[in-house]
Structure formats: C-alpha cells, structure tokens
C-alpha cells in the first residue's frame, strides 16, 4: 500500500471552507458571488471582492461521485446533446434535478446562486453556452473573454486584445459588486495567484524524481486549491505544506507506486469516475503516471502584479489548450525531458474535443520523435457511457506488456 499524503487533510479543509463560505454568502447576499470558468479571470474577480465559484469543479465532482450518470440524461432531455461537454450536461442536469454532490459532502443544499457569470472561452465554446443557461435561469449578467485558439507564435495583437477584454469586464463587475475597482487589491490577487502557481509547478515537478513521490491521480485531487483558491493566501500556504511533504518523500524514497518499473504521461482529461480503479490498475502494474497536461494547466507563471492585465492575458493565452499542434508536441517533448516517462496515454474524451489531442495524428508523431510508444484510451471525463472499463484495462495491460518486452 502506498503511503498516504498527509497534506490531504488540509486540502479537504480548504475545499470544505471554500464551499461553506460560498454557501454563507449565497444566503446572506454578501459578498457577491461570481461564477468563473476554471481558467477564467479569477484574479480580477477576487481583486474586486467577489467570492468565486467554479462550475467546472462541480462538474468534476459530479463525475467523481458518478452522479453524472443520472444527471446527464436530464440535460439531454431538455435539448443539450450527449455529444457536448459532459461537465455542462451533468451540471445543468443536476441543477434541474435539484441535486449536487455538495449535499452529501458538506450538507450544502444547493450550489451558490451567482450574481454574475464570467467565462473565458480558452477552454472551449461550451463554457459560454453552459453559463448562458444559468444567465437565463438566474437573470444575471453573463460576461467574458473570447480567446484565440490554435495559436502558434503569440502576437502582441492577441495579448493586447485579451488584456483589453479583461479590463472591459470591470464596469459590469463594479455594477454588480457595488464597489469601485481597486488596482492594488487586484495586484495582490495576481501576486497570490502567481505564488500559488509557482508552488503548484514545484509540486508537479517533484514527480520528476525516480521513484515518483506522487502520481497524476494524486495530483488531480490536490489540484483543488490551485483551481478554486488561487489568488488567496490559503492556497499559497497549502502548496508550501504539500511541497515540503513531497520533498520529504523524495528524500525518504517514498514512492507513489511501490516498486515503480514504468513511468507514463497522461494526455487529456481525467476519467473522474474511474480515478481510483485506474490508479489501482497502474499500481498493480508497477506503473506510475508521473505527469499530465491536465494538471499542468493550472500553472500560470506569467502572472505579474506589476502588469496585472497584460500578464493575465499572457498567462491565459500561453496555455496549452489554445495552442497549435506544433507547440503542443514541443510541450510534451519538454515534459519528456523532465519526467523521463516510457510511454504516453492519450485519453480521447468523447465529449471534450478541445482537451483531446489524439485526433490529428499526434500520438504517432510523438511516438516517433520520442522513441516511446503511445496508446489512445476511449472514454470521457464524466460520461461513463462512453467508457469501456474492460477494453481500457486490456489496452493498458497490453501497453505495459509491450513496455516489458522492450
């Protein structure tokens, strides 16, 4: 049995406090609540005094608790296709069914009512459509940033435009919050977010050690504060604790997977409802999934309090998800240099084409460039109807057998 990460308890408390604080605010009407996409302008919202709620985090909870299975069909029945984002369909379905994983986890009856909805389409167009549904439902403003996609070299034009779009959110946010924009408060949120991000990067890079002190499956859980609390002192404090523990594990040769024989990279979304079974499967095969594009997606080193708008624009435009194939391949090659993995697993998430990177020939190109094998697992982030456990298991076992035979 792998040794449990001690920081988990603190992480759970941060997540619980996050939801309790939102629930209180929803009941009191203050502070105002902004819903924000996971890689949206959260720093600006925090800097303007909003509490920030992330529906994608709720989507992941619906997936992990497998509540998504019953919620998705409900959204399908009101016209949201089973082929679009299953975070969207499970979340809207859950709302229509008046259910949420927060009830069981924290005895919180419902997700916090938004005062404003703020998106960034850098993830996909679905986030805007998702928020648009709630904007109609709650009759609250829907504002956001329209990002560029498939970018090679980033131009000043793109950065200036995104910075302007972020700045352009301020008047509506002021109106909703009833508070004037205070640039120093904003700078402070950017500074804290940057510190969170730098620590999160250090935590993830700890997995470069052999054996790896933690795995992708651990990181998907511990990334919670990097998503929901970045821009706060609590998140910074938390990742200091986690990093210290990971460094101690490296020193003591504590491995995420005892007897680590193989190291893999996970490309694409997690399969939330199968994290545990996949983690156990890889452990039984003495294989550690040491790095992923997904967990790296919450590293925003570019944030700079001296240039808050410009640096936010850069951080949210240099992101993997909005880049072209050539950039993405270079990115994974760099990860290979750092993490020294023996193979790549591409997850083809049926309802998440934007976060799926196997569909344009990348696995074959990377396998050739890096001289390591790659496989594609068909599945989904939350809709387990798109996932065959037995097929995936056979593929993963066969992949490890292939690595053994090399």
């Amino acid at each position: 049995m792998a040794t449990e990460i001690q920081a988990t308890k603190t992480m759970r408390k941060i997540m619980a406090d996050h939801f309790f604080e939102l629930d209180r605010a929803a009941k009191d009407g203050r502070p105002r609540i902004a819903w924000c996409t996971s890689v949206g302008p959260a720093e600006l919202l925090r800097g303007m005094g909003f509490l920030v709620y992330f529906p994608e985090n709720h989507g992941a909870m619906l997936g992990a608790t497998r509540m998504a299975a019953s919620c998705i069909p409900r959204a399908n029945s009101v016209g949201y296709s089973p082929d679009i984002c299953s975070y969207l369909t499970s979340d809207i379905g859950a709302y229509l069914m008046r259910t949420t994983p927060l009830q069981k986890a924290y005895q919180i009856e419902a997700v916090p009512r938004p005062d404003v909805l703020v998106f960034n389409t850098n993830q996909c167009r679905d986030v805007k459509d998702w928020f648009a549904w709630y904007a109609r439902e709650f009759k609250v403003p829907l504002i956001g940033v329209h990002s560029y996609h498939n970018i090679g070299e980033i131009t000043d034009f793109e950065l200036r435009d995104i910075a302007k779009q972020i700045e352009g959110l301020i008047p509506t946010l002021e109106e909703v919050s009833g508070e004037k924009f205070d640039v120093d408060r904003f700078r402070d949120a950017v500074r804290l977010s940057r510190e969170t991000s730098q620590l999160w990067r250090a935590c993830l890079e700890a997995a470069a050690a052999i054996p790896s002190p933690w795995s992708f499956f651990d990181a998907t859980i511990h990334m919670g504060p990097a998503v929901v609390a970045r821009g706060t002192q609590e998140a910074v404090d938390y990742y200091r604790i986690l990093l210290a523990e990971l460094q101690q594990r490296i020193q003591n040769q504590v491995a995420a997977v005892e007897g680590e024989r193989h190291r893999l990279y996970w490309e694409g979304m997690p399969i939330w409802g199968k994290l545990r079974s996949l983690s156990e499967l890889f452990a039984s095969l003495k294989t550690s999934v040491v790095a992923s594009t997904y967990c790296n997606s919450w590293i925003f080193d570019q944030l700079d309090p001296a240039e808050p708008f410009e640096s936010m624009a850069r951080a949210y435009t240099e992101l993997f998800i909005v880049r072209d194939e050539a950039y993405k391949e270079r990115y994974i090659e760099n990860c290979h240099d750092l993490f020294r993995f023996d193979g790549i697993i591409f997850h083809d998430a049926k309802t998440c084409p934007n976060n799926t990177n196997n569909r344009y020939g990348m696995p074959a190109r990377l396998a050739k460039k890096l001289g390591i094998p790659a496989i594609t697992i068909n599945g989904d982030l939350s809709d387990l109807r798109c996932y065959s456990e037995e097929q995936a298991r056979t593929q993963i076992e066969a992949f490890i057998e292939q690595l053994e035979g090399r």
């Binding site: 094998p373 068909n378 996932y387 097929q391 056979t394 066969a398 292939q402």
Partner: protein, 255 residues
C-alpha cells in the same frame, strides 16, 4: 509438462494443449456463455479428452488470455490477448508483420518487428462495427445462418457498398437494399467489405499481413477480399481461431 493456453473470448473459449517440443496435443472450442470460469474448465476437459489425456495424470502449466482471462481458476498467469495473438502469429510466421485479429467483440491490429517484439497496437474504439458481433447481428437481420455467410459472399457478382459506420445504421441500410431488390450474396459481400474497411481504418498495414481470429476461421473469404484491396498476400495461420490460445500456451512454456 503440458503447456496450456486458454483464451476466454467474448464469444468462445478456446484451449490449446502443447507438448514440451511445441507439438499440438489437443484443442477445444466452446461458447463462453455467462460463466467464464465454467467455460474454461469444461473446455479444458474437452481438449484433454481430444488428446486422450487424464487431467489427474498431467502436469500442466497454464496461461490464460481473453476477456475472461482472470476467471480461469487453474491459470498460472494471464496475458492480454494482444500479447498472445502476437506470440501465436510469430510462432507460425517468424517475421516482422502486421497482425489483424478479428474477434467476436473487438478487433486488434498489432505491429511486430523482425524479432517478434510488439512495436504498437490498436484496438477498435468502443464500437462493434467490423467485428464478429457485427456479422452476427447482420446474419440475424437477414435470417441467414452465420455459417452460410462466407459461401454467399463468394457467390456475389456485384458488391453492394454500405456507407454507414454504425451496426444499427448498417442494418437499416441493408433493409433498404433488400427493398431495392439487391441480391443477398451482393449484400453479404458488402457486409464483408464493411468489415475489411473498418480494419483498414485502424492502422497502417506493413509489408506482411497476418490475419487471425474466429471470424476469419469461418469466413476465409474476408482474407481474399483483404488481399485484393491491399494488393499483397495475407497470411492465415493454420488454426486462426486458436492463435490466441496457442500463443498463451507458448507463453506458458516460457513462464
């Protein structure tokens, strides 16, 4: 020592018994049904009887494979069917090759190098189009015994091209072709062509192509059609339905 390979597939369970020198002692095939463990036991019994052997007097070493590989109580180890088909094919054709396995529920394309090492593999996506299940469903819709499909496809004079990707949509398309008065052999050849296309979409074919699995054992005309399309010979091992179990028995000898 007898080396036993058990391939508990989604449709059928296969057992191969090999002597220490690799000679085939006996084999058996039976439906997997719903109890994989029982199917494996019964199939082993069948194979032993075919080899005129008593289980109590045999020293055996077993590797199991297939969907039910972990349900075989008498197994000494399990390997995926990808490894076992690769091993079985390399035994009969020791050369670099692309192996196509058309199974009851899934297809695999496996790339082997000159030493029999696997350099890559692909499985069909979560869709049974192009697998044995597809042909079974179509035979049912056409009310034709499965065993007659191969003969009918061979009689075709003008193949009916079917455009659908999905098994259910293909069934609808087939009904439409029947209404149009198209001949059954031409439709069946169209179904075979659909299977071949689905396989060719999965991966690139190397210089040498080997095809295995239950579907090819009963429908060898598929190999002929594949040869025509890829314009090179397609090799079929002597017992295509048993290749996975054979590979498992060979792996048992290496345990």
């Amino acid at each position: 020592m007898i080396y036993v390979g058990v391939d508990v597939g989604s449709s059928n369970t296969k057992v191969v018994l090999l002597e220490e020198d690799g000679k085939l002692l006996g084999s058996a095939i039976r439906r997997s049904g719903t109890d994989f463990s029982a199917a494996a036991e019964l199939c082993l019994g069948d194979a032993l009887r075919a080899a005129c052997l008593e289980r109590e007097s045999c020293e055996m070493r077993t590797v199991s494979t297939g969907y039910g590989r972990r349900n075989v109580a008498f197994s000494d180890g399990d390997r995926t069917e990808i490894s076992c088909h690769a091993r079985g094919c390399f035994h009969f054709f020791p050369q670099a090759a692309t192996i196509i396995d058309i199974g009851g529920q899934d297809n695999k394309v496996i790339q082997l190098d000159y030493a029999g090492r696997r350099t890559g593999f692909k499985m069909n996506r979560k869709c049974a189009a192009g697998t044995g299940a597809f042909l079974e469903e179509m035979a049912l819709r056409l009310d034709i015994p499965l065993g007659e499909l191969n003969g009918l496809a061979q009689q075709s004079t003008e193949v009916v091209e079917l455009g659908s990707y999905c098994t259910v949509f293909t069934a609808t398309e087939v009904l439409e072709k029947i209404r149009q008065g198209r001949k059954v052999p031409d439709i069946v050849k169209g179904l075979f062509l659909s299977v071949v296309k689905r396989v060719l979409e999965m991966d690139s074919m190397g210089e040498r192509v080997v095809i295995t699995g239950g579907v090819i054992a009963f429908n060898p005309y598929l190999a002929t059609m594949l040869e025509e399309i890829i314009e090179r010979p397609v090799l079929v091992p002597p017992y295509p339905q048993l290749t996975g179990a054979w590979g498992a028995a060979l792996l048992a000898s290496e345990l």
